[in-house]
Protein backbone atom coordinates (compact mmCIF):
# COMPACT_ATOMS: atom_id res chain seq x y z
CA UNK A 1 0.00 0.00 0.00
CA UNK A 2 0.99 3.61 -0.46
CA UNK A 3 2.30 5.23 2.72
CA UNK A 4 3.29 8.83 3.25
CA UNK A 5 4.71 11.14 5.87
CA UNK A 6 3.67 14.22 3.91
CA UNK A 7 1.39 16.32 6.07
CA UNK A 8 -0.45 17.86 3.13
CA UNK A 9 -1.16 14.45 1.66
CA UNK A 10 -2.28 13.04 5.03
CA UNK A 11 -4.60 16.04 5.40
CA UNK A 12 -6.08 15.36 1.96
CA UNK A 13 -6.67 11.71 2.87
CA UNK A 14 -8.28 12.86 6.12
CA UNK A 15 -10.73 15.06 4.25
CA UNK A 16 -11.65 12.16 1.94
CA UNK A 17 -12.18 9.91 4.93
CA UNK A 18 -14.51 12.47 6.50
CA UNK A 19 -16.61 12.41 3.35
CA UNK A 20 -16.75 8.60 3.46
CA UNK A 21 -17.87 8.70 7.11
CA UNK A 22 -20.69 11.13 6.33
CA UNK A 23 -21.85 9.11 3.32
CA UNK A 24 -21.72 5.78 5.15
CA UNK A 25 -23.65 6.94 8.20
CA UNK A 26 -26.24 8.83 6.16
CA UNK A 27 -26.88 5.73 4.04
CA UNK A 28 -27.08 3.55 7.15
CA UNK A 29 -29.52 6.02 8.76
CA UNK A 30 -27.87 5.37 12.12
CA UNK A 31 -24.40 5.44 13.62
CA UNK A 32 -21.92 7.68 15.41
CA UNK A 33 -20.56 10.55 13.30
CA UNK A 34 -19.19 12.80 16.06
CA UNK A 35 -16.56 10.47 17.49
CA UNK A 36 -15.69 9.15 14.04
CA UNK A 37 -14.87 12.66 12.83
CA UNK A 38 -12.83 13.53 15.92
CA UNK A 39 -10.57 10.51 15.35
CA UNK A 40 -9.84 11.03 11.63
CA UNK A 41 -6.33 12.50 11.76
CA UNK A 42 -5.29 10.07 14.51
CA UNK A 43 -6.33 6.96 12.58
CA UNK A 44 -5.16 8.27 9.20
CA UNK A 45 -1.71 9.16 10.59
CA UNK A 46 -1.40 5.74 12.21
CA UNK A 47 -2.41 3.70 9.16
CA UNK A 48 -0.71 5.75 6.44
CA UNK A 49 2.44 6.84 8.24
CA UNK A 50 3.18 5.37 11.65
CA UNK A 51 2.18 1.72 11.78
CA UNK A 52 4.08 -1.16 10.20
CA UNK A 53 1.39 -3.24 8.53
CA UNK A 54 0.59 -4.90 5.23
CA UNK A 55 -2.96 -5.13 3.86
CA UNK A 56 -1.77 -7.89 1.51
CA UNK A 57 -0.73 -9.93 4.55
CA UNK A 58 -3.12 -8.91 7.33
CA UNK A 59 -2.01 -11.67 9.71
CA UNK A 60 1.72 -10.86 9.37
CA UNK A 61 3.06 -11.84 12.78
CA UNK A 62 5.23 -8.77 13.32
CA UNK A 63 2.64 -6.21 12.24
CA UNK A 64 1.68 -3.32 14.46
CA UNK A 65 -1.84 -3.65 15.80
CA UNK A 66 -4.63 -1.11 16.19
CA UNK A 67 -7.59 -1.66 18.49
CA UNK A 68 -10.54 0.70 18.30
CA UNK A 69 -11.72 0.29 21.87
CA UNK A 70 -14.35 3.01 21.30
CA UNK A 71 -15.91 0.62 18.81
CA UNK A 72 -18.96 2.72 17.99
CA UNK A 73 -16.67 4.99 15.93
CA UNK A 74 -15.97 2.17 13.45
CA UNK A 75 -17.07 4.10 10.32
CA UNK A 76 -13.74 5.95 10.26
CA UNK A 77 -11.82 2.71 10.87
CA UNK A 78 -13.70 0.95 8.06
CA UNK A 79 -13.08 3.87 5.70
CA UNK A 80 -9.35 3.92 6.46
CA UNK A 81 -8.99 0.13 6.24
CA UNK A 82 -10.78 0.16 2.89
CA UNK A 83 -8.52 2.97 1.67
CA UNK A 84 -5.51 0.87 2.72
CA UNK A 85 -6.86 -2.11 0.79
CA UNK A 86 -7.94 -4.40 3.64
CA UNK A 87 -11.55 -4.51 2.53
CA UNK A 88 -13.72 -3.33 -0.37
CA UNK A 89 -14.49 0.38 -0.69
CA UNK A 90 -17.56 -0.29 -2.80
CA UNK A 91 -19.26 -2.02 0.15
CA UNK A 92 -18.79 0.84 2.64
CA UNK A 93 -22.35 1.92 1.87
CA UNK A 94 -23.61 -1.41 3.27
CA UNK A 95 -22.67 -0.30 6.82
CA UNK A 96 -25.06 -1.76 9.43
CA UNK A 97 -27.08 -3.68 6.83
CA UNK A 98 -27.87 -7.41 6.86
CA UNK A 99 -24.88 -9.47 5.79
CA UNK A 100 -22.50 -6.51 5.59
CA UNK A 101 -18.87 -7.00 6.59
CA UNK A 102 -19.22 -3.49 8.03
CA UNK A 103 -21.14 -4.30 11.21
CA UNK A 104 -22.54 -1.65 13.57
CA UNK A 105 -19.60 -2.23 15.89
CA UNK A 106 -16.34 -3.91 14.82
CA UNK A 107 -16.86 -7.67 14.44
CA UNK A 108 -13.93 -9.89 13.51
CA UNK A 109 -16.29 -12.66 12.39
CA UNK A 110 -17.35 -10.47 9.46
CA UNK A 111 -14.10 -8.57 8.93
CA UNK A 112 -11.18 -10.80 9.99
CA UNK A 113 -8.55 -8.12 9.35
CA UNK A 114 -9.85 -6.23 12.38
CA UNK A 115 -7.63 -6.75 15.40
CA UNK A 116 -10.51 -6.96 17.89
CA UNK A 117 -14.26 -7.12 18.19
CA UNK A 118 -15.22 -4.15 20.29
CA UNK A 119 -18.28 -2.14 21.25
CA UNK A 120 -18.62 -2.86 24.93
CA UNK A 121 -16.60 0.04 26.26
CA UNK A 122 -13.58 -0.37 28.50
CA UNK A 123 -12.09 -3.62 27.23
CA UNK A 124 -9.65 -2.70 24.47
CA UNK A 125 -6.75 -1.59 26.64
CA UNK A 126 -6.58 -4.98 28.38
CA UNK A 127 -6.68 -6.73 25.01
CA UNK A 128 -3.89 -4.48 23.78
CA UNK A 129 -1.78 -5.36 26.83
CA UNK A 130 -2.21 -9.05 26.01
CA UNK A 131 -1.11 -8.51 22.42
CA UNK A 132 1.85 -6.41 23.54
CA UNK A 133 2.92 -9.08 26.05
CA UNK A 134 2.69 -11.77 23.36
CA UNK A 135 4.93 -9.65 21.11
CA UNK A 136 7.47 -9.26 23.91
CA UNK A 137 7.54 -13.04 24.52
CA UNK A 138 8.12 -13.56 20.80
CA UNK A 139 10.79 -10.84 20.73
CA UNK A 140 8.74 -9.25 17.97
CA UNK A 141 9.07 -5.55 17.12
CA UNK A 142 5.25 -5.41 16.91
CA UNK A 143 3.68 -2.48 18.74
CA UNK A 144 0.07 -2.14 19.80
CA UNK A 145 -2.03 1.03 19.61
CA UNK A 146 -5.34 1.28 21.47
CA UNK A 147 -7.76 4.14 20.86
CA UNK A 148 -9.97 5.04 23.80
CA UNK A 149 -12.71 7.60 24.14
CA UNK A 150 -12.67 10.18 26.92
CA UNK A 151 -16.14 8.96 27.88
CA UNK A 152 -15.02 5.36 27.72
CA UNK A 153 -12.31 5.78 30.33
CA UNK A 154 -15.01 6.13 32.97
CA UNK A 155 -15.09 2.32 32.85
CA UNK A 156 -13.21 0.76 35.77
CA UNK A 157 -11.47 -1.87 33.67
CA UNK A 158 -9.50 0.89 31.91
CA UNK A 159 -7.84 1.74 35.20
CA UNK A 160 -7.15 -1.91 36.04
CA UNK A 161 -5.40 -2.09 32.68
CA UNK A 162 -3.65 1.26 33.16
CA UNK A 163 -2.32 0.07 36.51
CA UNK A 164 -1.09 -3.20 34.99
CA UNK A 165 0.65 -1.62 31.99
CA UNK A 166 2.36 1.01 34.12
CA UNK A 167 3.48 -1.44 36.81
CA UNK A 168 4.68 -4.04 34.30
CA UNK A 169 6.35 -1.48 32.02
CA UNK A 170 4.55 -2.52 28.84
CA UNK A 171 6.52 -0.12 26.66
CA UNK A 172 5.39 -1.52 23.30
CA UNK A 173 1.89 -0.28 24.01
CA UNK A 174 0.45 3.13 23.13
CA UNK A 175 -2.94 4.31 24.35
CA UNK A 176 -4.62 7.21 22.58
CA UNK A 177 -7.42 9.04 24.32
CA UNK A 178 -9.60 10.78 21.76
CA UNK A 179 -10.47 13.63 24.09
CA UNK A 180 -13.40 15.17 22.24
CA UNK A 181 -15.07 16.22 25.51
CA UNK A 182 -18.52 14.90 24.62
CA UNK A 183 -20.30 11.63 25.42
CA UNK A 184 -23.83 10.48 24.71
CA UNK A 185 -25.58 12.31 27.53
CA UNK A 186 -23.64 15.56 27.13
CA UNK A 187 -20.31 17.10 28.03
CA UNK A 188 -17.78 14.90 29.84
CA UNK A 189 -17.02 17.64 32.38
CA UNK A 190 -20.69 17.67 33.44
CA UNK A 191 -21.17 13.91 33.50
CA UNK A 192 -17.92 12.79 35.14
CA UNK A 193 -15.21 15.41 35.33
CA UNK A 194 -11.94 13.64 34.53
CA UNK A 195 -9.52 16.47 35.11
CA UNK A 196 -6.64 16.48 35.64
CA UNK A 197 -6.58 13.68 33.07
CA UNK A 198 -2.86 13.74 32.31
CA UNK A 199 -1.99 13.54 36.00
CA UNK A 200 -4.15 10.45 36.37
CA UNK A 201 -2.30 8.56 33.64
CA UNK A 202 1.09 9.81 34.81
CA UNK A 203 0.37 8.62 38.34
CA UNK A 204 -0.37 5.15 36.94
CA UNK A 205 3.14 5.05 35.48
CA UNK A 206 2.46 6.15 31.91
CA UNK A 207 4.58 8.47 29.80
CA UNK A 208 1.93 11.08 29.15
CA UNK A 209 1.77 13.33 26.10
CA UNK A 210 -0.87 15.95 25.37
CA UNK A 211 -1.33 16.97 21.78
CA UNK A 212 -3.69 18.81 19.46
CA UNK A 213 -5.43 15.84 17.84
CA UNK A 214 -6.08 17.36 14.42
CA UNK A 215 -2.51 18.64 13.97
CA UNK A 216 -0.90 15.91 11.87
CA UNK A 217 2.68 17.14 12.35
CA UNK A 218 2.16 17.22 16.12
CA UNK A 219 0.72 13.69 16.01
CA UNK A 220 3.73 12.43 14.04
CA UNK A 221 6.02 13.91 16.66
CA UNK A 222 4.04 12.34 19.52
CA UNK A 223 4.01 8.89 17.89
CA UNK A 224 7.77 9.13 17.31
CA UNK A 225 8.31 10.01 20.96
CA UNK A 226 6.13 7.04 22.00
CA UNK A 227 8.15 4.71 19.76
CA UNK A 228 11.39 5.77 21.44
CA UNK A 229 10.00 5.33 24.95
CA UNK A 230 11.49 2.50 27.01
CA UNK A 231 10.29 1.03 30.32
CA UNK A 232 6.99 2.91 30.21
CA UNK A 233 3.81 2.69 28.17
CA UNK A 234 2.82 5.93 26.46
CA UNK A 235 -0.58 7.60 26.48
CA UNK A 236 -1.34 10.30 23.95
CA UNK A 237 -4.11 12.52 25.19
CA UNK A 238 -5.34 13.93 21.90
CA UNK A 239 -7.43 17.06 22.27
CA UNK A 240 -9.99 16.85 19.50
CA UNK A 241 -13.27 18.36 18.41
CA UNK A 242 -16.26 16.08 18.25
CA UNK A 243 -17.77 16.28 14.76
CA UNK A 244 -14.61 17.98 13.45
CA UNK A 245 -14.88 19.28 9.88
CA UNK A 246 -18.65 19.72 9.71
CA UNK A 247 -19.68 23.04 11.25
CA UNK A 248 -23.08 22.01 12.55
CA UNK A 249 -21.72 18.77 14.05
CA UNK A 250 -18.73 20.30 15.83
CA UNK A 251 -19.09 20.29 19.62
CA UNK A 252 -22.71 19.23 19.24
CA UNK A 253 -23.69 16.32 21.53
CA UNK A 254 -26.60 15.52 19.22
CA UNK A 255 -24.19 14.08 16.68
CA UNK A 256 -22.63 11.63 19.09
CA UNK A 257 -25.06 9.03 17.85
CA UNK A 258 -27.40 10.59 15.30
CA UNK A 259 -27.08 10.06 11.57
CA UNK A 260 -27.26 13.11 9.32
CA UNK A 261 -30.35 13.54 7.16
CA UNK A 262 -29.91 13.62 3.39
CA UNK A 263 -30.07 17.44 3.53
CA UNK A 264 -27.48 17.54 6.31
CA UNK A 265 -25.31 15.14 4.31
CA UNK A 266 -25.35 17.56 1.35
CA UNK A 267 -24.35 20.48 3.57
CA UNK A 268 -21.61 18.42 5.23
CA UNK A 269 -20.18 17.23 1.92
CA UNK A 270 -20.22 20.81 0.60
CA UNK A 271 -18.13 21.85 3.60
CA UNK A 272 -15.77 18.93 2.97
CA UNK A 273 -15.40 19.58 -0.77
Amino acid sequence: MHTTSDVTELAAISKRMRREVIEMITEAKSGHPGGSLSAVELIVTLYFDVMRHDPANPKWKDRDRFILSKGHCCPILYAVMAECGYCPKDQLNTLRKLGSIYQGHPDMRFLPSLEASTGSLGEGLSLGIGMALAAKLDKSPSRTFVMLGDGEIQEGQIWEAAMFAGAKKVDNLVAIVDTNRIQLDGFVKDIMDENPLGDKWASFGWHTLEVEGHDIAALQKAFAEAAAMKEQPTVIIAHTIKGKGVSFMENNPKFHGTAPTVEEEARALAELA
Partner: protein
Protein backbone atom coordinates in the same frame (compact mmCIF):
# COMPACT_ATOMS: atom_id res chain seq x y z
CA UNK B 1 -24.77 -56.43 30.28
CA UNK B 2 -21.12 -56.04 31.13
CA UNK B 3 -20.04 -57.31 34.52
CA UNK B 4 -20.00 -54.61 37.14
CA UNK B 5 -16.63 -53.36 38.20
CA UNK B 6 -16.24 -52.99 41.92
CA UNK B 7 -14.82 -49.54 42.43
CA UNK B 8 -12.16 -48.94 44.98
CA UNK B 9 -12.30 -45.19 45.62
CA UNK B 10 -8.87 -44.30 46.90
CA UNK B 11 -8.01 -40.92 48.39
CA UNK B 12 -6.81 -38.44 45.80
CA UNK B 13 -5.79 -34.86 45.18
CA UNK B 14 -8.08 -31.88 44.91
CA UNK B 15 -8.75 -31.21 41.24
CA UNK B 16 -7.25 -27.71 41.65
CA UNK B 17 -3.94 -29.31 42.64
CA UNK B 18 -4.07 -31.69 39.69
CA UNK B 19 -4.64 -28.65 37.47
CA UNK B 20 -1.49 -27.02 38.85
CA UNK B 21 0.54 -30.14 38.15
CA UNK B 22 -0.83 -30.47 34.63
CA UNK B 23 -0.05 -26.82 33.97
CA UNK B 24 3.58 -27.18 35.06
CA UNK B 25 3.94 -30.25 32.83
CA UNK B 26 2.35 -28.36 29.93
CA UNK B 27 4.79 -25.52 30.48
CA UNK B 28 7.71 -27.88 29.96
CA UNK B 29 6.42 -29.30 26.67
CA UNK B 30 4.69 -26.30 25.12
CA UNK B 31 6.51 -22.94 25.12
CA UNK B 32 3.33 -21.21 23.92
CA UNK B 33 1.46 -21.93 27.14
CA UNK B 34 1.26 -18.85 29.35
CA UNK B 35 -0.54 -18.44 32.68
CA UNK B 36 -2.38 -15.55 34.31
CA UNK B 37 -3.51 -15.34 37.90
CA UNK B 38 -5.18 -12.71 40.06
CA UNK B 39 -3.35 -12.90 43.39
CA UNK B 40 -4.51 -16.41 44.19
CA UNK B 41 -1.71 -18.47 42.68
CA UNK B 42 -1.00 -20.34 45.92
CA UNK B 43 -4.65 -21.37 46.13
CA UNK B 44 -5.19 -22.10 42.44
CA UNK B 45 -1.86 -23.98 42.27
CA UNK B 46 -0.65 -21.92 39.31
CA UNK B 47 2.33 -20.91 41.49
CA UNK B 48 4.29 -24.00 40.44
CA UNK B 49 4.10 -22.88 36.80
CA UNK B 50 4.97 -19.35 37.90
CA UNK B 51 8.13 -20.48 39.68
CA UNK B 52 9.22 -22.67 36.79
CA UNK B 53 8.42 -20.20 34.00
CA UNK B 54 8.38 -16.68 35.44
CA UNK B 55 8.60 -15.03 32.02
CA UNK B 56 5.40 -16.79 30.95
CA UNK B 57 3.49 -16.13 34.17
CA UNK B 58 1.49 -12.91 34.51
CA UNK B 59 0.44 -11.88 37.99
CA UNK B 60 -2.46 -9.53 37.33
CA UNK B 61 -3.25 -8.51 40.87
CA UNK B 62 -6.80 -8.48 42.17
CA UNK B 63 -8.40 -7.50 38.87
CA UNK B 64 -10.16 -10.43 37.22
CA UNK B 65 -11.87 -8.46 34.43
CA UNK B 66 -8.54 -7.11 33.26
CA UNK B 67 -6.94 -10.55 33.59
CA UNK B 68 -9.52 -12.23 31.37
CA UNK B 69 -9.19 -9.63 28.61
CA UNK B 70 -5.37 -9.64 28.79
CA UNK B 71 -5.64 -13.40 28.40
CA UNK B 72 -7.74 -12.92 25.27
CA UNK B 73 -5.15 -10.47 23.92
CA UNK B 74 -2.37 -13.00 24.54
CA UNK B 75 -4.41 -15.62 22.70
CA UNK B 76 -4.89 -13.22 19.79
CA UNK B 77 -1.13 -12.78 19.80
CA UNK B 78 -0.69 -16.53 19.27
CA UNK B 79 -0.24 -17.75 22.86
CA UNK B 80 -2.22 -20.44 24.69
CA UNK B 81 -3.20 -18.62 27.86
CA UNK B 82 -4.63 -20.27 30.98
CA UNK B 83 -6.24 -17.65 33.23
CA UNK B 84 -7.08 -18.86 36.70
CA UNK B 85 -8.88 -17.69 39.79
CA UNK B 86 -11.66 -18.97 42.03
CA UNK B 87 -14.57 -19.87 39.74
CA UNK B 88 -16.82 -17.36 41.45
CA UNK B 89 -14.53 -14.44 40.58
CA UNK B 90 -13.49 -15.68 37.17
CA UNK B 91 -17.03 -16.21 35.90
CA UNK B 92 -18.85 -13.45 37.73
CA UNK B 93 -16.31 -10.61 37.63
CA UNK B 94 -14.90 -11.71 34.29
CA UNK B 95 -18.17 -12.56 32.58
CA UNK B 96 -18.52 -9.49 30.38
CA UNK B 97 -14.91 -9.90 29.25
CA UNK B 98 -15.42 -13.62 28.61
CA UNK B 99 -18.40 -12.69 26.48
CA UNK B 100 -16.94 -9.86 24.43
CA UNK B 101 -13.23 -10.70 24.23
CA UNK B 102 -13.28 -14.51 24.24
CA UNK B 103 -16.62 -16.05 23.19
CA UNK B 104 -17.80 -13.52 20.60
CA UNK B 105 -14.54 -13.44 18.60
CA UNK B 106 -13.91 -17.18 19.36
CA UNK B 107 -10.51 -16.72 20.97
CA UNK B 108 -8.20 -19.53 22.11
CA UNK B 109 -8.46 -18.64 25.81
CA UNK B 110 -8.54 -21.27 28.55
CA UNK B 111 -9.94 -20.36 31.94
CA UNK B 112 -9.68 -22.64 34.95
CA UNK B 113 -11.78 -21.93 37.99
CA UNK B 114 -10.85 -23.43 41.34
CA UNK B 115 -12.87 -23.49 44.59
CA UNK B 116 -16.04 -24.34 42.67
CA UNK B 117 -19.21 -25.42 44.41
CA UNK B 118 -19.95 -25.29 48.13
CA UNK B 119 -17.32 -27.85 49.16
CA UNK B 120 -14.79 -25.07 49.83
CA UNK B 121 -16.29 -24.99 53.31
CA UNK B 122 -15.62 -22.33 55.90
CA UNK B 123 -15.01 -19.33 53.62
CA UNK B 124 -18.71 -19.21 52.83
CA UNK B 125 -20.98 -18.12 49.98
CA UNK B 126 -19.06 -15.07 48.74
CA UNK B 127 -16.28 -17.45 47.68
CA UNK B 128 -18.56 -20.31 46.54
CA UNK B 129 -19.37 -20.74 42.90
CA UNK B 130 -22.75 -22.34 42.34
CA UNK B 131 -23.66 -20.74 39.00
CA UNK B 132 -20.44 -21.02 36.98
CA UNK B 133 -21.55 -23.91 34.78
CA UNK B 134 -24.66 -22.06 33.71
CA UNK B 135 -22.74 -18.84 33.05
CA UNK B 136 -20.06 -20.62 31.04
CA UNK B 137 -22.65 -22.63 29.08
CA UNK B 138 -24.40 -19.38 28.13
CA UNK B 139 -21.32 -18.29 26.18
CA UNK B 140 -21.72 -19.44 22.55
CA UNK B 141 -18.78 -21.51 21.39
CA UNK B 142 -17.38 -22.17 24.86
CA UNK B 143 -16.44 -25.70 25.87
CA UNK B 144 -17.25 -26.41 29.52
CA UNK B 145 -15.47 -29.16 31.43
CA UNK B 146 -16.03 -30.41 34.98
CA UNK B 147 -13.61 -33.22 35.86
CA UNK B 148 -14.32 -35.74 38.60
CA UNK B 149 -10.84 -36.51 39.90
CA UNK B 150 -7.13 -35.84 39.54
CA UNK B 151 -6.70 -38.21 36.60
CA UNK B 152 -9.50 -36.59 34.63
CA UNK B 153 -8.24 -33.11 35.47
CA UNK B 154 -4.67 -33.81 34.36
CA UNK B 155 -5.83 -35.33 31.10
CA UNK B 156 -8.47 -32.72 30.27
CA UNK B 157 -6.27 -29.72 31.10
CA UNK B 158 -3.62 -31.08 28.73
CA UNK B 159 -6.23 -31.79 26.08
CA UNK B 160 -7.59 -28.24 26.44
CA UNK B 161 -4.21 -26.87 25.40
CA UNK B 162 -4.30 -28.90 22.21
CA UNK B 163 -7.71 -27.89 20.86
CA UNK B 164 -8.49 -24.41 19.56
CA UNK B 165 -11.22 -22.36 21.18
CA UNK B 166 -12.39 -20.92 24.50
CA UNK B 167 -12.65 -23.49 27.31
CA UNK B 168 -13.72 -23.32 30.94
CA UNK B 169 -12.51 -26.03 33.32
CA UNK B 170 -14.15 -26.25 36.73
CA UNK B 171 -12.05 -27.55 39.62
CA UNK B 172 -12.53 -27.81 43.37
CA UNK B 173 -10.71 -27.14 46.61
CA UNK B 174 -11.64 -30.37 48.39
CA UNK B 175 -9.57 -33.54 48.01
CA UNK B 176 -11.69 -36.03 46.08
CA UNK B 177 -11.43 -39.79 45.56
CA UNK B 178 -9.63 -41.14 42.53
CA UNK B 179 -12.18 -42.58 40.14
CA UNK B 180 -9.98 -43.41 37.19
CA UNK B 181 -6.99 -45.60 36.43
CA UNK B 182 -3.99 -43.47 35.55
CA UNK B 183 -4.09 -44.57 31.90
CA UNK B 184 -7.76 -43.70 31.29
CA UNK B 185 -8.30 -41.85 28.00
CA UNK B 186 -10.54 -38.79 27.87
CA UNK B 187 -12.14 -37.12 24.91
CA UNK B 188 -13.75 -33.70 25.28
CA UNK B 189 -17.48 -34.07 24.68
CA UNK B 190 -17.53 -37.84 25.20
CA UNK B 191 -19.03 -39.04 28.47
CA UNK B 192 -17.53 -42.04 30.26
CA UNK B 193 -19.72 -44.89 31.41
CA UNK B 194 -18.18 -46.06 34.66
CA UNK B 195 -20.71 -48.75 35.55
CA UNK B 196 -23.29 -50.35 33.31
CA UNK B 197 -26.86 -50.80 34.50
CA UNK B 198 -30.37 -51.30 33.18
CA UNK B 199 -32.88 -49.90 35.70
CA UNK B 200 -31.76 -46.30 36.14
CA UNK B 201 -28.88 -44.06 34.99
CA UNK B 202 -26.96 -41.79 37.34
CA UNK B 203 -25.41 -38.95 35.35
CA UNK B 204 -22.96 -36.98 37.47
CA UNK B 205 -20.21 -34.42 37.20
CA UNK B 206 -17.38 -33.26 39.44
CA UNK B 207 -17.32 -34.63 42.95
CA UNK B 208 -20.81 -36.07 42.50
CA UNK B 209 -19.31 -38.79 40.30
CA UNK B 210 -17.75 -40.58 43.28
CA UNK B 211 -20.96 -40.09 45.26
CA UNK B 212 -22.92 -41.64 42.40
CA UNK B 213 -20.59 -44.64 42.28
CA UNK B 214 -21.26 -45.17 45.98
CA UNK B 215 -24.98 -44.72 45.35
CA UNK B 216 -24.92 -47.40 42.66
CA UNK B 217 -23.43 -49.86 45.14
CA UNK B 218 -26.24 -49.19 47.63
CA UNK B 219 -28.80 -49.57 44.86
CA UNK B 220 -27.21 -52.80 43.67
CA UNK B 221 -27.58 -54.23 47.17
CA UNK B 222 -31.29 -53.43 46.84
CA UNK B 223 -31.45 -55.26 43.53
CA UNK B 224 -31.45 -52.09 41.40
CA UNK B 225 -29.10 -52.04 38.43
CA UNK B 226 -27.80 -48.47 38.14
CA UNK B 227 -25.72 -47.19 35.25
CA UNK B 228 -23.21 -44.50 36.20
CA UNK B 229 -22.00 -41.93 33.69
CA UNK B 230 -19.35 -39.26 34.28
CA UNK B 231 -20.45 -36.24 32.26
CA UNK B 232 -17.08 -34.50 32.43
CA UNK B 233 -17.96 -32.25 29.51
CA UNK B 234 -21.01 -30.11 30.22
CA UNK B 235 -20.84 -28.41 26.83
CA UNK B 236 -20.96 -29.81 24.21
CA UNK B 237 -23.04 -32.53 25.85
CA UNK B 238 -22.70 -36.17 24.84
CA UNK B 239 -26.22 -36.44 23.43
CA UNK B 240 -25.77 -40.08 22.38
CA UNK B 241 -24.87 -41.23 25.89
CA UNK B 242 -27.92 -39.40 27.27
CA UNK B 243 -30.42 -40.62 24.69
CA UNK B 244 -29.11 -44.19 25.04
CA UNK B 245 -29.47 -43.99 28.82
CA UNK B 246 -33.02 -42.66 28.43
CA UNK B 247 -33.99 -45.38 25.98
CA UNK B 248 -32.28 -48.27 27.74
CA UNK B 249 -32.94 -47.47 31.40
CA UNK B 250 -36.02 -45.21 31.22
CA UNK B 251 -35.00 -43.29 34.35
CA UNK B 252 -32.25 -40.72 34.85
CA UNK B 253 -30.88 -38.99 37.94
CA UNK B 254 -28.56 -36.03 37.35
CA UNK B 255 -26.22 -35.06 40.20
CA UNK B 256 -24.14 -31.88 40.37
CA UNK B 257 -22.59 -29.53 42.93
CA UNK B 258 -24.31 -26.55 41.32
CA UNK B 259 -27.60 -24.66 41.33
CA UNK B 260 -30.35 -26.77 39.79
CA UNK B 261 -31.78 -23.74 37.98
CA UNK B 262 -29.36 -23.92 35.07
CA UNK B 263 -26.64 -26.52 35.41
CA UNK B 264 -26.04 -29.98 34.03
CA UNK B 265 -29.50 -31.26 35.02
CA UNK B 266 -31.52 -28.89 32.86
CA UNK B 267 -29.16 -29.45 29.96
CA UNK B 268 -29.57 -33.22 30.20
CA UNK B 269 -33.35 -32.78 30.50
CA UNK B 270 -33.33 -30.79 27.27
CA UNK B 271 -31.64 -33.66 25.45
CA UNK B 272 -34.01 -36.21 27.01
CA UNK B 273 -37.00 -34.12 25.93
CA UNK B 274 -35.64 -33.93 22.40
CA UNK B 275 -34.65 -37.60 22.05
CA UNK B 276 -36.39 -40.18 24.22
CA UNK B 277 -38.84 -39.79 27.10
CA UNK B 278 -37.57 -40.85 30.53
CA UNK B 279 -38.39 -40.17 34.15
CA UNK B 280 -35.91 -37.68 35.63
CA UNK B 281 -34.80 -36.59 39.09
CA UNK B 282 -32.22 -33.99 40.05
CA UNK B 283 -29.64 -33.74 42.84
CA UNK B 284 -28.06 -30.33 43.33
CA UNK B 285 -28.44 -27.02 45.12
CA UNK B 286 -31.98 -25.73 45.45
CA UNK B 287 -32.34 -21.99 44.90
CA UNK B 288 -30.12 -20.91 47.77
CA UNK B 289 -26.64 -19.83 48.82
CA UNK B 290 -24.90 -22.04 51.35
CA UNK B 291 -23.01 -20.97 54.50
CA UNK B 292 -19.80 -21.47 56.48
CA UNK B 293 -19.12 -24.96 57.81
CA UNK B 294 -16.83 -27.87 57.09
CA UNK B 295 -17.10 -29.28 53.57
CA UNK B 296 -18.55 -32.52 54.92
CA UNK B 297 -21.20 -30.70 56.93
CA UNK B 298 -22.16 -28.65 53.88
CA UNK B 299 -22.36 -31.62 51.50
CA UNK B 300 -24.61 -33.35 54.07
CA UNK B 301 -26.81 -30.35 54.74
CA UNK B 302 -27.26 -29.32 51.12
CA UNK B 303 -27.97 -32.85 49.94
CA UNK B 304 -24.94 -33.66 47.81
CA UNK B 305 -24.23 -37.18 49.01
CA UNK B 306 -24.63 -40.74 47.79
CA UNK B 307 -27.66 -41.08 50.03
CA UNK B 308 -29.34 -38.19 48.17
CA UNK B 309 -28.59 -39.82 44.83
CA UNK B 310 -30.03 -43.10 46.10
CA UNK B 311 -33.19 -41.35 47.26
CA UNK B 312 -33.54 -39.61 43.90
CA UNK B 313 -33.09 -42.93 42.10
CA UNK B 314 -35.80 -44.51 44.23
CA UNK B 315 -38.16 -41.63 43.41
CA UNK B 316 -37.41 -42.02 39.74
CA UNK B 317 -37.97 -45.77 39.85
CA UNK B 318 -41.28 -45.35 41.65
CA UNK B 319 -42.50 -43.05 38.87
CA UNK B 320 -41.20 -45.25 36.10
CA UNK B 321 -43.90 -47.39 34.51
Amino acid sequence: MAAKTKFELKAGLATREAFGKALAQLGRVNPNVVVLDADLSKSTYTAEFGHAFPERFFECGIAESNMVAIGSGLAMGGKIPFASSFSVFLLNKGFEQLRVTAAYPNVNLKIVGTHSGISIGEDGPSQMSIEDLSLACSLPGFTVISPADEVATMALVKRAAEVFGPIFIRTGRLKVPVVYASDQAFEIGKAIQLIDGSDVTLIATGLMVAESIRASETLEAEGVSARVIDMHTIKPLDRDAISRAAAETGAIVVAEEHLLDAGLGVRVAQVVAETHPAVMEFVGIHNTYAESATPDQLLDKYGLRAVNVVAAARRALSRKR
